[in-house]
Symmetry: C2
Subunit: 234 residues, 2 copies
DNA sequence: ACCTGAACACCGTTCAAGT
DNA sequence: ACCTGAACACCGTTCAAGT
Protein backbone atom coordinates (compact mmCIF):
# COMPACT_ATOMS: atom_id res chain seq x y z
CA UNK A 1 0.00 0.00 0.00
CA UNK A 2 1.45 3.30 -1.10
CA UNK A 3 1.51 6.09 1.43
CA UNK A 4 -1.19 8.45 0.21
CA UNK A 5 -1.38 11.02 2.92
CA UNK A 6 0.69 14.16 3.24
CA UNK A 7 1.49 13.61 6.90
CA UNK A 8 5.14 13.07 7.68
CA UNK A 9 5.85 9.53 8.84
CA UNK A 10 7.69 10.06 12.10
CA UNK A 11 8.65 6.42 12.33
CA UNK A 12 12.32 6.02 11.47
CA UNK A 13 13.08 2.63 9.98
CA UNK A 14 13.98 0.64 13.06
CA UNK A 15 17.22 -1.30 13.40
CA UNK A 16 19.80 -2.00 16.08
CA UNK A 17 21.96 0.98 15.28
CA UNK A 18 19.12 3.49 15.27
CA UNK A 19 17.87 2.22 18.60
CA UNK A 20 21.34 2.13 20.18
CA UNK A 21 22.11 5.64 18.95
CA UNK A 22 18.85 6.87 20.40
CA UNK A 23 19.64 5.22 23.74
CA UNK A 24 23.04 6.89 23.85
CA UNK A 25 21.49 10.25 23.04
CA UNK A 26 19.00 9.81 25.89
CA UNK A 27 21.80 8.92 28.32
CA UNK A 28 23.91 11.87 27.17
CA UNK A 29 21.03 14.18 27.96
CA UNK A 30 19.51 12.63 31.07
CA UNK A 31 21.77 9.92 32.42
CA UNK A 32 21.92 6.16 32.05
CA UNK A 33 18.81 5.49 34.14
CA UNK A 34 16.72 7.35 31.58
CA UNK A 35 17.36 4.51 29.13
CA UNK A 36 14.22 2.39 29.21
CA UNK A 37 12.65 0.32 26.47
CA UNK A 38 9.42 2.29 26.70
CA UNK A 39 11.14 5.66 26.56
CA UNK A 40 13.12 4.49 23.55
CA UNK A 41 9.94 3.36 21.81
CA UNK A 42 8.29 6.69 22.53
CA UNK A 43 11.30 8.63 21.23
CA UNK A 44 11.21 6.58 18.00
CA UNK A 45 7.42 6.95 17.57
CA UNK A 46 6.81 3.28 17.92
CA UNK A 47 5.08 0.85 20.30
CA UNK A 48 6.76 -0.36 23.48
CA UNK A 49 7.20 -3.80 21.96
CA UNK A 50 8.73 -2.75 18.65
CA UNK A 51 12.35 -2.65 19.91
CA UNK A 52 12.05 -6.31 20.88
CA UNK A 53 12.23 -7.25 17.19
CA UNK A 54 15.84 -6.09 17.35
CA UNK A 55 16.90 -6.89 20.89
CA UNK A 56 16.18 -10.05 22.85
CA UNK A 57 15.87 -8.06 26.09
CA UNK A 58 17.24 -4.98 27.80
CA UNK A 59 20.55 -6.66 28.56
CA UNK A 60 20.97 -7.20 24.82
CA UNK A 61 20.37 -3.49 24.30
CA UNK A 62 23.03 -2.59 26.87
CA UNK A 63 25.44 -4.96 25.13
CA UNK A 64 24.65 -3.11 21.92
CA UNK A 65 25.52 0.22 23.53
CA UNK A 66 28.84 -1.13 24.78
CA UNK A 67 29.55 -2.54 21.33
CA UNK A 68 28.87 0.81 19.68
CA UNK A 69 31.22 2.62 22.08
CA UNK A 70 33.96 0.07 21.39
CA UNK A 71 33.39 0.36 17.65
CA UNK A 72 34.28 4.02 18.06
CA UNK A 73 37.81 3.24 19.25
CA UNK A 74 40.22 4.32 16.54
CA UNK A 75 42.82 1.55 16.49
CA UNK A 76 46.19 2.28 14.86
CA UNK A 77 46.62 0.47 11.53
CA UNK A 78 50.27 0.15 10.67
CA UNK A 79 52.86 0.94 13.23
CA UNK A 80 56.53 1.66 13.56
CA UNK A 81 56.19 2.03 17.31
CA UNK A 82 57.60 0.05 20.21
CA UNK A 83 55.09 -2.09 22.14
CA UNK A 84 54.76 0.42 24.96
CA UNK A 85 54.30 3.37 22.63
CA UNK A 86 51.64 1.56 20.65
CA UNK A 87 49.91 0.37 23.82
CA UNK A 88 49.81 3.94 25.08
CA UNK A 89 48.26 5.00 21.79
CA UNK A 90 45.61 2.27 21.92
CA UNK A 91 44.73 3.17 25.52
CA UNK A 92 44.46 6.84 24.61
CA UNK A 93 42.09 5.98 21.78
CA UNK A 94 39.94 3.87 24.11
CA UNK A 95 39.70 6.73 26.58
CA UNK A 96 38.95 9.17 23.77
CA UNK A 97 36.04 7.03 22.55
CA UNK A 98 34.57 6.56 26.03
CA UNK A 99 34.87 10.25 26.91
CA UNK A 100 32.35 11.11 24.21
CA UNK A 101 29.60 9.42 26.23
CA UNK A 102 30.73 9.26 29.86
CA UNK A 103 27.34 8.35 31.28
CA UNK A 104 27.28 5.01 29.42
CA UNK A 105 31.02 4.29 29.71
CA UNK A 106 30.38 2.03 32.70
CA UNK A 107 28.53 -0.40 30.45
CA UNK A 108 31.82 -1.28 28.78
CA UNK A 109 33.46 -2.41 32.03
CA UNK A 110 32.08 -5.96 31.89
CA UNK A 111 31.34 -6.24 28.16
CA UNK A 112 34.60 -5.94 26.23
CA UNK A 113 34.75 -9.60 25.26
CA UNK A 114 31.10 -9.71 24.18
CA UNK A 115 31.39 -7.93 20.84
CA UNK A 116 33.60 -7.99 17.76
CA UNK A 117 35.03 -4.48 18.22
CA UNK A 118 35.81 -5.26 21.86
CA UNK A 119 37.51 -8.50 20.90
CA UNK A 120 39.55 -6.71 18.25
CA UNK A 121 40.67 -4.21 20.88
CA UNK A 122 41.50 -6.94 23.39
CA UNK A 123 43.34 -8.93 20.73
CA UNK A 124 45.58 -5.99 19.93
CA UNK A 125 46.27 -5.25 23.59
CA UNK A 126 47.06 -8.91 24.29
CA UNK A 127 49.30 -9.08 21.25
CA UNK A 128 51.28 -6.05 22.40
CA UNK A 129 51.63 -7.50 25.90
CA UNK A 130 52.88 -10.74 24.35
CA UNK A 131 55.38 -8.72 22.32
CA UNK A 132 56.47 -7.15 25.61
CA UNK A 133 57.45 -10.59 26.84
CA UNK A 134 54.65 -11.56 29.24
CA UNK A 135 53.45 -15.16 29.58
CA UNK A 136 49.96 -15.96 28.29
CA UNK A 137 48.40 -16.11 31.77
CA UNK A 138 49.85 -12.72 32.69
CA UNK A 139 48.81 -11.33 29.31
CA UNK A 140 45.16 -12.06 30.07
CA UNK A 141 45.34 -10.72 33.59
CA UNK A 142 47.31 -7.58 32.82
CA UNK A 143 45.21 -6.86 29.75
CA UNK A 144 42.13 -7.21 31.88
CA UNK A 145 43.50 -4.86 34.59
CA UNK A 146 44.52 -2.24 32.08
CA UNK A 147 41.26 -2.15 30.13
CA UNK A 148 39.17 -2.20 33.31
CA UNK A 149 41.22 0.59 34.86
CA UNK A 150 40.83 2.86 31.86
CA UNK A 151 37.09 2.34 31.68
CA UNK A 152 36.86 3.06 35.40
CA UNK A 153 38.89 6.22 35.04
CA UNK A 154 36.38 7.61 32.55
CA UNK A 155 33.45 6.55 34.72
CA UNK A 156 34.83 8.34 37.78
CA UNK A 157 36.20 11.40 36.03
CA UNK A 158 36.03 14.34 38.48
CA UNK A 159 33.61 16.48 36.46
CA UNK A 160 31.55 13.49 35.31
CA UNK A 161 28.45 13.35 37.57
CA UNK A 162 26.16 10.96 35.75
CA UNK A 163 24.20 13.79 34.24
CA UNK A 164 20.50 13.42 35.17
CA UNK A 165 19.79 16.84 33.67
CA UNK A 166 21.81 19.65 32.10
CA UNK A 167 20.59 21.95 34.86
CA UNK A 168 20.63 19.59 37.86
CA UNK A 169 24.13 18.57 36.77
CA UNK A 170 25.56 21.87 37.96
CA UNK A 171 23.57 21.64 41.16
CA UNK A 172 25.07 18.22 41.87
CA UNK A 173 28.56 19.48 41.15
CA UNK A 174 28.02 22.40 43.48
CA UNK A 175 26.65 20.04 46.11
CA UNK A 176 29.70 17.81 45.79
CA UNK A 177 32.00 20.80 46.05
CA UNK A 178 30.20 22.01 49.15
CA UNK A 179 30.33 18.55 50.70
CA UNK A 180 34.10 18.40 50.26
CA UNK A 181 34.54 22.02 51.34
CA UNK A 182 32.58 21.33 54.52
CA UNK A 183 34.92 18.57 55.63
CA UNK A 184 36.99 19.12 58.71
CA UNK A 185 40.55 19.97 57.63
CA UNK A 186 41.64 18.42 60.90
CA UNK A 187 40.22 15.01 60.01
CA UNK A 188 40.80 15.04 56.27
CA UNK A 189 43.56 17.54 55.50
CA UNK A 190 44.74 15.87 52.31
CA UNK A 191 41.25 15.30 50.95
CA UNK A 192 40.42 18.96 51.55
CA UNK A 193 43.68 20.00 49.89
CA UNK A 194 42.79 17.94 46.82
CA UNK A 195 39.10 18.95 46.84
CA UNK A 196 39.27 21.19 43.79
CA UNK A 197 41.03 18.50 41.81
CA UNK A 198 38.42 15.95 42.85
CA UNK A 199 35.35 17.91 41.90
CA UNK A 200 36.40 19.26 38.53
CA UNK A 201 39.25 19.12 36.10
CA UNK A 202 41.30 22.09 35.03
CA UNK A 203 42.30 20.12 31.96
CA UNK A 204 40.56 16.88 31.03
CA UNK A 205 43.13 16.02 28.38
CA UNK A 206 46.08 16.06 30.75
CA UNK A 207 44.01 14.25 33.37
CA UNK A 208 43.43 11.34 31.02
CA UNK A 209 46.99 11.47 29.68
CA UNK A 210 48.24 10.96 33.22
CA UNK A 211 45.82 8.06 33.68
CA UNK A 212 47.11 6.31 30.58
CA UNK A 213 50.65 6.94 31.70
CA UNK A 214 49.95 5.40 35.10
CA UNK A 215 48.77 2.19 33.48
CA UNK A 216 51.67 2.06 31.03
CA UNK A 217 54.20 2.72 33.79
CA UNK A 218 52.60 -0.03 35.84
CA UNK A 219 52.97 -2.53 33.01
CA UNK A 220 56.57 -1.50 32.42
CA UNK A 221 57.21 -1.91 36.13
CA UNK A 222 55.90 -5.47 36.03
CA UNK A 223 58.03 -6.16 32.99
CA UNK A 224 61.18 -4.97 34.75
CA UNK A 225 60.50 -7.49 37.47
CA UNK A 226 60.26 -10.20 34.83
CA UNK A 227 63.45 -9.31 33.02
CA UNK A 228 65.33 -8.97 36.30
CA UNK A 229 64.73 -12.68 36.72
CA UNK A 230 65.21 -13.86 33.13
CA UNK A 231 67.51 -11.55 31.21
CA UNK A 232 68.84 -8.07 31.43
CA UNK A 233 68.41 -6.54 28.01
CA UNK A 234 66.36 -3.37 27.95
CA UNK B 1 0.76 -2.79 74.96
CA UNK B 2 2.57 -5.93 76.01
CA UNK B 3 2.90 -8.67 73.49
CA UNK B 4 0.48 -11.31 74.72
CA UNK B 5 0.52 -13.88 72.00
CA UNK B 6 2.93 -16.78 71.62
CA UNK B 7 3.63 -16.13 67.97
CA UNK B 8 7.20 -15.18 67.18
CA UNK B 9 7.52 -11.60 66.01
CA UNK B 10 9.34 -11.91 62.70
CA UNK B 11 9.93 -8.20 62.47
CA UNK B 12 13.54 -7.43 63.24
CA UNK B 13 14.01 -3.98 64.69
CA UNK B 14 14.63 -1.91 61.61
CA UNK B 15 17.63 0.36 61.20
CA UNK B 16 20.08 1.33 58.47
CA UNK B 17 22.55 -1.42 59.21
CA UNK B 18 19.98 -4.21 59.29
CA UNK B 19 18.54 -3.06 55.97
CA UNK B 20 21.95 -2.63 54.32
CA UNK B 21 23.10 -6.05 55.53
CA UNK B 22 19.95 -7.61 54.15
CA UNK B 23 20.50 -5.88 50.81
CA UNK B 24 24.05 -7.20 50.61
CA UNK B 25 22.87 -10.71 51.45
CA UNK B 26 20.29 -10.53 48.66
CA UNK B 27 22.92 -9.36 46.18
CA UNK B 28 25.35 -12.08 47.28
CA UNK B 29 22.71 -14.68 46.55
CA UNK B 30 20.96 -13.30 43.48
CA UNK B 31 22.91 -10.37 42.08
CA UNK B 32 22.68 -6.63 42.45
CA UNK B 33 19.48 -6.28 40.41
CA UNK B 34 17.64 -8.33 43.03
CA UNK B 35 18.05 -5.43 45.45
CA UNK B 36 14.70 -3.63 45.45
CA UNK B 37 12.98 -1.73 48.21
CA UNK B 38 9.97 -4.02 48.05
CA UNK B 39 12.04 -7.19 48.15
CA UNK B 40 13.94 -5.83 51.13
CA UNK B 41 10.69 -5.04 52.94
CA UNK B 42 9.38 -8.51 52.26
CA UNK B 43 12.60 -10.12 53.49
CA UNK B 44 12.38 -8.09 56.71
CA UNK B 45 8.66 -8.83 57.23
CA UNK B 46 7.66 -5.24 56.88
CA UNK B 47 5.65 -3.02 54.54
CA UNK B 48 7.13 -1.65 51.32
CA UNK B 49 7.23 1.82 52.85
CA UNK B 50 8.96 0.94 56.12
CA UNK B 51 12.52 1.21 54.78
CA UNK B 52 11.81 4.82 53.83
CA UNK B 53 11.97 5.77 57.51
CA UNK B 54 15.70 4.99 57.29
CA UNK B 55 16.59 5.88 53.71
CA UNK B 56 15.51 8.93 51.75
CA UNK B 57 15.33 6.92 48.53
CA UNK B 58 16.98 3.99 46.78
CA UNK B 59 20.10 6.02 45.96
CA UNK B 60 20.53 6.60 49.69
CA UNK B 61 20.32 2.85 50.22
CA UNK B 62 23.01 2.21 47.59
CA UNK B 63 25.19 4.82 49.29
CA UNK B 64 24.67 2.89 52.50
CA UNK B 65 25.84 -0.33 50.88
CA UNK B 66 28.99 1.35 49.56
CA UNK B 67 29.62 2.83 53.00
CA UNK B 68 29.33 -0.58 54.64
CA UNK B 69 31.80 -2.13 52.20
CA UNK B 70 34.27 0.67 52.83
CA UNK B 71 33.83 0.33 56.58
CA UNK B 72 35.10 -3.22 56.15
CA UNK B 73 38.48 -2.08 54.90
CA UNK B 74 41.06 -2.91 57.54
CA UNK B 75 43.36 0.10 57.54
CA UNK B 76 46.84 -0.26 59.09
CA UNK B 77 47.16 1.60 62.39
CA UNK B 78 50.77 2.29 63.18
CA UNK B 79 53.38 1.76 60.58
CA UNK B 80 57.10 1.42 60.14
CA UNK B 81 56.72 0.99 56.40
CA UNK B 82 57.83 3.11 53.47
CA UNK B 83 55.07 4.98 51.60
CA UNK B 84 54.93 2.44 48.79
CA UNK B 85 54.83 -0.54 51.13
CA UNK B 86 52.02 0.98 53.17
CA UNK B 87 50.12 2.01 50.05
CA UNK B 88 50.35 -1.56 48.77
CA UNK B 89 49.00 -2.77 52.11
CA UNK B 90 46.08 -0.33 52.03
CA UNK B 91 45.22 -1.30 48.46
CA UNK B 92 45.35 -4.99 49.38
CA UNK B 93 42.96 -4.39 52.25
CA UNK B 94 40.56 -2.50 49.99
CA UNK B 95 40.55 -5.36 47.51
CA UNK B 96 40.12 -7.87 50.33
CA UNK B 97 37.03 -6.04 51.61
CA UNK B 98 35.44 -5.72 48.18
CA UNK B 99 36.09 -9.35 47.27
CA UNK B 100 33.73 -10.47 50.04
CA UNK B 101 30.77 -9.08 48.08
CA UNK B 102 31.83 -8.81 44.43
CA UNK B 103 28.32 -8.23 43.10
CA UNK B 104 27.96 -4.93 44.96
CA UNK B 105 31.60 -3.83 44.58
CA UNK B 106 30.66 -1.66 41.61
CA UNK B 107 28.64 0.58 43.91
CA UNK B 108 31.87 1.78 45.50
CA UNK B 109 33.30 3.06 42.22
CA UNK B 110 31.57 6.44 42.39
CA UNK B 111 30.89 6.66 46.13
CA UNK B 112 34.20 6.70 47.99
CA UNK B 113 34.00 10.37 48.96
CA UNK B 114 30.37 10.11 50.12
CA UNK B 115 30.93 8.39 53.46
CA UNK B 116 33.19 8.67 56.48
CA UNK B 117 34.97 5.32 55.98
CA UNK B 118 35.57 6.17 52.32
CA UNK B 119 36.95 9.57 53.26
CA UNK B 120 39.23 7.99 55.86
CA UNK B 121 40.54 5.61 53.21
CA UNK B 122 41.02 8.41 50.67
CA UNK B 123 42.71 10.59 53.30
CA UNK B 124 45.27 7.88 54.04
CA UNK B 125 45.95 7.22 50.35
CA UNK B 126 46.33 10.94 49.64
CA UNK B 127 48.63 11.33 52.63
CA UNK B 128 50.88 8.53 51.44
CA UNK B 129 50.99 10.01 47.93
CA UNK B 130 51.93 13.34 49.46
CA UNK B 131 54.68 11.59 51.42
CA UNK B 132 55.84 10.15 48.12
CA UNK B 133 56.43 13.66 46.87
CA UNK B 134 53.50 14.35 44.52
CA UNK B 135 51.94 17.80 44.19
CA UNK B 136 48.42 18.24 45.59
CA UNK B 137 46.77 18.24 42.14
CA UNK B 138 48.53 15.01 41.19
CA UNK B 139 47.71 13.53 44.59
CA UNK B 140 44.00 13.86 43.91
CA UNK B 141 44.22 12.54 40.39
CA UNK B 142 46.53 9.63 41.11
CA UNK B 143 44.58 8.69 44.22
CA UNK B 144 41.41 8.72 42.16
CA UNK B 145 42.97 6.53 39.45
CA UNK B 146 44.30 4.02 41.91
CA UNK B 147 41.11 3.61 43.93
CA UNK B 148 38.96 3.45 40.80
CA UNK B 149 41.24 0.88 39.21
CA UNK B 150 41.16 -1.41 42.21
CA UNK B 151 37.39 -1.28 42.48
CA UNK B 152 37.15 -2.02 38.77
CA UNK B 153 39.51 -4.95 39.08
CA UNK B 154 37.21 -6.59 41.61
CA UNK B 155 34.13 -5.83 39.52
CA UNK B 156 35.61 -7.48 36.43
CA UNK B 157 37.33 -10.38 38.12
CA UNK B 158 37.40 -13.34 35.69
CA UNK B 159 35.29 -15.70 37.77
CA UNK B 160 32.95 -12.96 38.96
CA UNK B 161 29.80 -13.15 36.79
CA UNK B 162 27.31 -10.98 38.67
CA UNK B 163 25.67 -13.99 40.19
CA UNK B 164 21.93 -14.00 39.33
CA UNK B 165 21.61 -17.47 40.86
CA UNK B 166 23.93 -20.08 42.38
CA UNK B 167 22.89 -22.50 39.62
CA UNK B 168 22.63 -20.14 36.64
CA UNK B 169 26.03 -18.78 37.66
CA UNK B 170 27.75 -21.92 36.44
CA UNK B 171 25.69 -21.89 33.27
CA UNK B 172 26.82 -18.32 32.54
CA UNK B 173 30.44 -19.23 33.19
CA UNK B 174 30.15 -22.18 30.84
CA UNK B 175 28.50 -19.98 28.25
CA UNK B 176 31.31 -17.45 28.51
CA UNK B 177 33.90 -20.18 28.20
CA UNK B 178 32.16 -21.58 25.13
CA UNK B 179 31.91 -18.13 23.58
CA UNK B 180 35.64 -17.58 23.94
CA UNK B 181 36.43 -21.14 22.83
CA UNK B 182 34.33 -20.67 19.71
CA UNK B 183 36.35 -17.67 18.55
CA UNK B 184 38.40 -18.04 15.42
CA UNK B 185 42.06 -18.48 16.43
CA UNK B 186 42.90 -16.84 13.11
CA UNK B 187 41.15 -13.59 14.05
CA UNK B 188 41.81 -13.57 17.80
CA UNK B 189 44.85 -15.76 18.49
CA UNK B 190 45.93 -13.98 21.66
CA UNK B 191 42.42 -13.78 23.10
CA UNK B 192 41.96 -17.51 22.52
CA UNK B 193 45.34 -18.20 24.09
CA UNK B 194 44.31 -16.23 27.19
CA UNK B 195 40.75 -17.61 27.25
CA UNK B 196 41.22 -19.85 30.28
CA UNK B 197 42.74 -16.97 32.24
CA UNK B 198 39.86 -14.70 31.25
CA UNK B 199 37.03 -16.96 32.28
CA UNK B 200 38.29 -18.21 35.61
CA UNK B 201 41.15 -17.76 37.99
CA UNK B 202 43.53 -20.52 38.99
CA UNK B 203 44.37 -18.45 42.05
CA UNK B 204 42.35 -15.39 43.02
CA UNK B 205 44.89 -14.28 45.62
CA UNK B 206 47.77 -14.03 43.18
CA UNK B 207 45.45 -12.43 40.61
CA UNK B 208 44.65 -9.59 42.99
CA UNK B 209 48.22 -9.36 44.24
CA UNK B 210 49.34 -8.74 40.67
CA UNK B 211 46.63 -6.10 40.25
CA UNK B 212 47.79 -4.21 43.33
CA UNK B 213 51.36 -4.48 42.14
CA UNK B 214 50.43 -3.03 38.75
CA UNK B 215 48.96 0.06 40.40
CA UNK B 216 51.90 0.49 42.79
CA UNK B 217 54.42 0.09 39.98
CA UNK B 218 52.49 2.66 37.95
CA UNK B 219 52.68 5.18 40.77
CA UNK B 220 56.38 4.53 41.29
CA UNK B 221 56.89 4.99 37.57
CA UNK B 222 55.23 8.41 37.70
CA UNK B 223 57.35 9.33 40.70
CA UNK B 224 60.57 8.44 38.85
CA UNK B 225 59.56 10.90 36.16
CA UNK B 226 59.11 13.56 38.82
CA UNK B 227 62.43 13.02 40.53
CA UNK B 228 64.24 12.88 37.19
CA UNK B 229 63.26 16.51 36.77
CA UNK B 230 63.72 17.78 40.30
CA UNK B 231 66.34 15.77 42.12
CA UNK B 232 68.04 12.42 41.82
CA UNK B 233 67.80 10.79 45.22
CA UNK B 234 66.08 7.42 45.20
C1' DA C 1 8.83 -9.50 8.36
C1' DC C 2 7.75 -6.15 11.32
C1' DC C 3 4.77 -3.72 14.27
C1' DT C 4 0.46 -3.28 17.46
C1' DG C 5 -2.48 -3.76 21.67
C1' DA C 6 -3.78 -5.58 25.74
C1' DA C 7 -2.31 -7.63 29.73
C1' DC C 8 0.74 -9.20 33.82
C1' DA C 9 3.85 -8.94 37.47
C1' DC C 10 6.78 -5.92 39.30
C1' DC C 11 9.10 -1.14 40.52
C1' DG C 12 9.98 3.45 43.30
C1' DT C 13 7.57 6.71 45.60
C1' DT C 14 3.40 10.00 47.31
C1' DC C 15 0.20 10.77 50.69
C1' DA C 16 -2.83 10.24 54.46
C1' DA C 17 -3.50 7.39 58.40
C1' DG C 18 -2.87 4.51 62.12
C1' DT C 19 -0.78 3.28 67.01
C1' DA D 1 8.52 7.62 66.40
C1' DC D 2 7.72 4.21 63.44
C1' DC D 3 4.97 1.49 60.55
C1' DT D 4 0.67 0.60 57.47
C1' DG D 5 -2.41 0.75 53.32
C1' DA D 6 -3.96 2.42 49.25
C1' DA D 7 -2.78 4.58 45.22
C1' DC D 8 0.00 6.45 41.08
C1' DA D 9 3.04 6.51 37.37
C1' DC D 10 6.23 3.86 35.54
C1' DC D 11 9.01 -0.68 34.24
C1' DG D 12 10.31 -5.17 31.40
C1' DT D 13 8.20 -8.69 29.13
C1' DT D 14 4.40 -12.38 27.48
C1' DC D 15 1.19 -13.45 24.22
C1' DA D 16 -1.94 -13.24 20.50
C1' DA D 17 -3.00 -10.48 16.56
C1' DG D 18 -2.75 -7.56 12.80
C1' DT D 19 -0.90 -6.16 7.90
Amino acid sequence: MISLNGEADNRIHLNRDVIVSCAIAIADAEGIDAITIRRLAQELNVTAMAPYRHFRDKEDLLNGIAEKLLAGVNLPKTTCLTWDQELALVFSQLVAALRLHPSVAELVLTRILLSAPGLTLAELVFKLLTDAGFESEQVGQIGNYALSSLVAIVTTQPGAVTNPDPEIRDALLREKRILLASLSPRNYPHVVAAADTLVSCTDDDSYYALGVKLVIEGIKGLKSDLSDQTDSNL
